[in-house]
Each structure stands twice: as C-alpha cells, then as structure tokens.
C-alpha cells in the first residue's frame, strides 16, 4: 500500500514513515501542500495522511479542493487540534477519518487499514482480519481456512463488520444494510442474524471475535 504523508515536521514525518513501513505501508513524505501536489501528480497513492498545520496553507482548505478534484484516495487527517469542534470541521471538509496527536502507531495503522477496506477506492477482493476472511465477490467466509456456510444476510453482515473491524457498528446501521427500505423485520431480527454468525465463527474456532456492545451494536475484534 502506498501512502503519502503530508506533514511539515520532518522528525514526525520520518518516524511515522518508518513505523508504518514495519506495518506494510510504503510511505512518501511531502513537507507542504506544494510538495504534496507534486507527489500526487507523479504517483498514485492508496492513502493520504494529512497534517493540518502546514506552513504553506490551511490543510482543511486544501482538502476541500482535493475532494472537488475527484481524487478518491482516502484521507486521514492528523492534527494537534483535537478539542471540541475541530474534529467535526475536519470530517466536514472531506476527511475520511481523523486522529489527534499524539497517537498510537498501532491504532493509526489499524485505522488506515480500515480505510483501505472501505468499499470504493481500490477494493481488495478478499477482506482479511487475522484468521477471518471474506471473499467479497464470491460471498464466502472462512475462519482459519475452514469454510463458514453463510446465508445471504450473514454474509452481508460479515462483510459490513469486517469493513469496520475494531469499531462498533450500530444496530441501526446493520438494519439499514441488511434490509431494504420496504422490507419489514422484527426488532430482534438483527440479533438473530448476529447470533447465528457468531455461532458459526465459534464453531470454526473463533471465540471472542464478535462482541455485543449492549444497547449500541456489534464489534468485530481482531483475534489475538
């Protein structure tokens, strides 16, 4: 995965590139917006990491023009401005995710991988989290090499949870994805699909993978 880091602090940028390289990202560094433009003109990137405090312009403003130009690589905004409303401003400007400094490298890498799993940009045909895999085109799930026999709804649910691994997916969002607008369903329908999927994963040896967050939704955690 090729990644462009746009950050004016050389120390932070090189450290970040070095740390992410050990996690499978090939990073280029642009110390400003002008350099970023040059890099984007000469190569194609899967992901962008953008720091907002840049010497040659406002990162958020640049992000808006970047989005207006139909460039689709996901952007993760990195900033010191973590408090209150700034996060919202970043997401409004077209950032796909947002992390405030300082951050854990592991969490950043996890978020970047999650961005890559989003449908759209450059979709990988197989979603993989540890021993859990899902073939997007074939709608087939596997755990530790063992095939999981999934119904259509269970497959849709597994895809959704895999694309959002590490984050809680709300019950409302699952309802929206699993059922069309005019379909009627009982309030515990989602619960039933989740428990069937969980049982199948557990039977294949994956315990403690699919969690329930009571009152909120469900969460797929990378098996340890």
């Amino acid at each position: 995965m090729r990644l462009l880091i746009i950050d004016d602090n050389p120390r932070l940028a090189t450290l970040l590139a070095e740390r992410l390289a050990t996690r499978g990202f090939a990073c280029d560094i642009a110390p400003g917006l002008e350099a970023a433009e040059q890099a984007l003109g000469s190569a194609s990137y899967d992901l962008l990491v953008l720091d907002l405090g840049l010497p040659d312009g406002d990162g958020l403003e640049w992000l808006k023009t970047y989005r207006a130009r139909d460039l689709h690589a996901p952007v993760l905004v990195l900033t010191a401005r973590g408090a209150l409303g700034d996060r919202v401003a970043g997401l409004d400007a077209g950032a796909d995710d947002y992390m405030s400094k300082p951050f854990e490298t592991d969490e950043l890498a996890a978020r970047l991988r999650a961005l890559m799993r989003r449908p759209g940009s450059r979709d990988s045909p197989v979603l993989k989290v540890g021993p859990l895999e899902f073939d997007v085109a074939g709608r087939r799930g596997r755990f530790g090499g063992q095939s999981l026999e999934l119904t259509r709804r269970e497959a849709d649910l597994l895809e959704l949870l895999l694309r959002r691994v590490g984050a809680v997916t709300s019950r409302a969002m699952i309802e929206e994805r699993l059922y069309s607008f005019d379909e009627t369903f009982t309030p515990n329908a989602v619960e039933a699909v989740v428990s069937r999927l969980r049982r199948k994963i557990e039977e294949a040896g994956g315990t403690g993978v699919l969690h329930t967050v009571r009152g909120v939704g469900y969460l797929l955690r990378e098996p340890l």
């Binding site: 010191a80 400094k101 951050f103 590490g166 809680v168 309802e175 369903f185 009571r214 009152g215 939704g217």
Partner: protein
C-alpha cells in the same frame, strides 16, 4: 454605616453649621438695624419691645424655616445618593462566572457613571487578559502535541521495561495536555458566547459508547448503553460528549475486570454513568470538582482534572454533576428550555420500542 467618611453625614453637618451661622448673623443684623434705624420709635417701648420684635419677626420665621429643612435635608441627601447604592448593587450582581459582563449604565446619575465606566473598563481589561491567557494555554497545548507524538513513536522502537514505564507516563501527560486544551477551549467559548445547538443526549451517548467500547473490551471490561428517554438539551454537543467521555473513562478505571460500565440516558434531561465501583460521596465529588481551582493544579495529575472539567462543562450548560453513592452513579443533570422537546427516533424497526436491545 459608619459616619466617618460618609458623604451624606458631611453634607448634613455642613448644612446644619451653615444654617446656624446664618441664623446668628441674621440675629446680629436685626439687633444692629433696630438700634440705628428704628431707634426713636422703639425706645419708648423698652427692651421687652425689642425682644418681642426679634422673637416675632426673626426667631419664629427661622424656626419655621429650619425645622422642615433639618428634617428634610437628610432625606433629600439620601435620595440623591441612592443611585450610588444602585450602582454598587449592579456591580455586585455582575460577579457571574461568565465573562463579557458589563454594568448597565441606564438610569445612573452622571456622578455614578464615572465610577461605573471605570469599573466596566477594568472588567474589559480583565477579559482581554483572560482571553490572552487562554490563547496562550491553547497554543502551548498544541505545541506540546507534536513532540509528544514524536516521543511516543520513538518509544515504539523499544520494547524494554523502561520503555513501558515511560509510555505510561507519556499517556498520563497526553491526558493532561488534552484536559488543559479542553479547559482553555471551554473558557474561550464562554467569552465568545458561542451559539448553542440542540443536543440529543441519546445520540451523544451512542457516539461516546461506540467510541469507547473497543478500548473497554480490550481491557477486559464491558460498556453498555440503556436509552430510557430521548431528551434534547441546548448546548455544545462536543462539550457534552467530552463530559460523558470523562465520566465513562473514570468509571472504567475503577470497575473490576469482567464488569460493566453502563451509560443510561434519562429519564428526563440527564445522562447517568453506573459502575460496580465503590461510588463517590457528595464530599469526595466536591473535592474532585474543585481540583483545578486549587493552587497546586500541576500536581493534580492527568486523571485528577477530569471531574473539574466535567463540572465546568455542566456549569456552562446550566446543569450540574451529581453523585448517587447508593446506585454507584454519576449523573450529568441538565436544565434547559429544550429539555422538554423530544426528537423522533431516526429509524425504528417494526416495533415502536426505541429502548434497549
């Protein structure tokens, strides 16, 4: 009221002395005039005639004039000075914690306006100083974040026990910087009187719960949400979320592994965080809330500022942070015009129940 240094008392004394001196002078003039001008006419009547004349034409009119004057003057003076008391009352009333407060000049006399204007100028200068100080605090916090990030990543290269220790300290320092930044931001908001928005508490709770649940699970603890009500309050959504996040993070530190922290929304305009910990008494909460007001704020440590910040956020929303040691709950209780309103559920399934799963 002390008489020394009182303007009213000086005025009364001045008037009385002036009155007495004028009366004495009048008596003297009358007696002198009588001798020289009406000499022949009154000599026939003798001294009693003179006394009679003075009594009749000087003393009586003077008494008639002086009595109402002496009784009226203090009243007139108090009345004239009353606006000063009013000005003082207004200045006293302006001790609200929010900034941007000025004493109202309407209805004050010219003499009081001078002082009240001076007080207003002083308030303005204090505001400016506070704004500068907040901007400075925010700048410092921002500037600290990049080196902290660099430090964290540098530590990532090392897996020794020393690195772990430093990482823990770094984590505490990060939290402290975040909290200082949040405090500075809250102060800046109260100065600028940032517009309030409708904040649906259930949505905020859902967002906070989703955000913190992965971390809770990683630490072997549970986080759950129960929506009993869907109140909407007026305020700043991000600030309310920060307050709830602080309470949940705090509860997670104390709850034993395998146990759950539960966020409850409602009934009424409140967010509740319940854990299996020992609970906080009113007095313990008071101490925690006042932490940042104490001089030793630097020694309060990363976690110590949390409750103080929560209580500041609630104050800014006209609400309060309350504790129920029996239920082991901390509550964010809001008061506001929007509390009574309800938002419709965004997308409900076939069942009308929006409650818990």
């Amino acid at each position: 009221m002390t008489r020394r240094g009182s303007i009213a008392w000086t005025l009364i004394l001045g008037f009385v002395l002036t009155g007495l001196a004028a009366a004495a002078l009048l008596l003297f003039v009358v007696a002198f005039d009588f001798d020289h001008v009406f000499d022949s006419h009154y000599r026939q009547k003798g001294l009693t005639g003179l006394a009679y004349e003075i009594g009749d034409h000087v003393i009586v009119p003077l008494v008639v004039l002086l009595v109402p004057m002496i009784t009226a003057v203090p009243w007139v003076i108090r009345r004239a000075l009353a606006p000063l008391t009013l000005a003082a009352r207004r200045i006293n009333a302006a001790n609200h914690p929010d900034r941007g407060i000025r004493v109202d000049l309407a209805g004050l006399p010219k003499e009081a306006v001078v002082f009240v204007t001076a007080v207003n100028d002083l308030l303005g200068r204090l505001d400016e100083a506070a704004v500068r100080q907040e901007a400075f605090a925010a700048d410092v916090a921002h500037e600290l974040k990049t080196p902290l990030a660099i430090l964290g990543m540098t530590l990532d290269r090392d897996d020794g026990p020393l690195a772990d220790e430093i990482r823990a300290e770094l984590g505490a320092m990060n939290r402290l910087v975040d909290q200082l930044l949040l405090l500075a931001q809250l102060d800046a908001d109260s100065v600028s009187h940032a517009p309030r928005e409708a904040v649906p508490l259930a949505d905020v709770a859902l967002e906070v719960c989703s955000r913190l649940a992965p971390l809770a699970l990683a630490a072997g603890k549970d986080l759950a949400l129960e929506i009993l009500d869907r109140p909407v309050v007026a305020g700043r959504r991000e600030a309310v979320a920060a307050a709830l996040r602080n309470l949940v993070e705090n509860a997670q530190r104390f709850v034993p592994e395998g146990q759950a922290v539960v966020i409850l929304v409602g009934p009424g305009p409140q967010l509740r965080v319940r854990d299996e910990g020992p609970g906080l008494t009113r007095e313990q909460l008071d101490v925690l809330q006042r932490r940042h007001e104490r001089a030793d704020r630097a020694s309060a440590g990363g976690a110590g500022l949390g409750m103080a910040i929560v209580s500041r956020i609630m104050e800014a929303h006209g609400g309060a942070l309350e504790t129920d040691p029996k239920l082991r709950e901390l509550r964010l209780v809001f008061k506001g015009p929007m509390s009574a309103h309800r938002v419709p559920n965004s997308r409900s399934p076939a069942s009308p129940s929006p409650g818990t799963m």
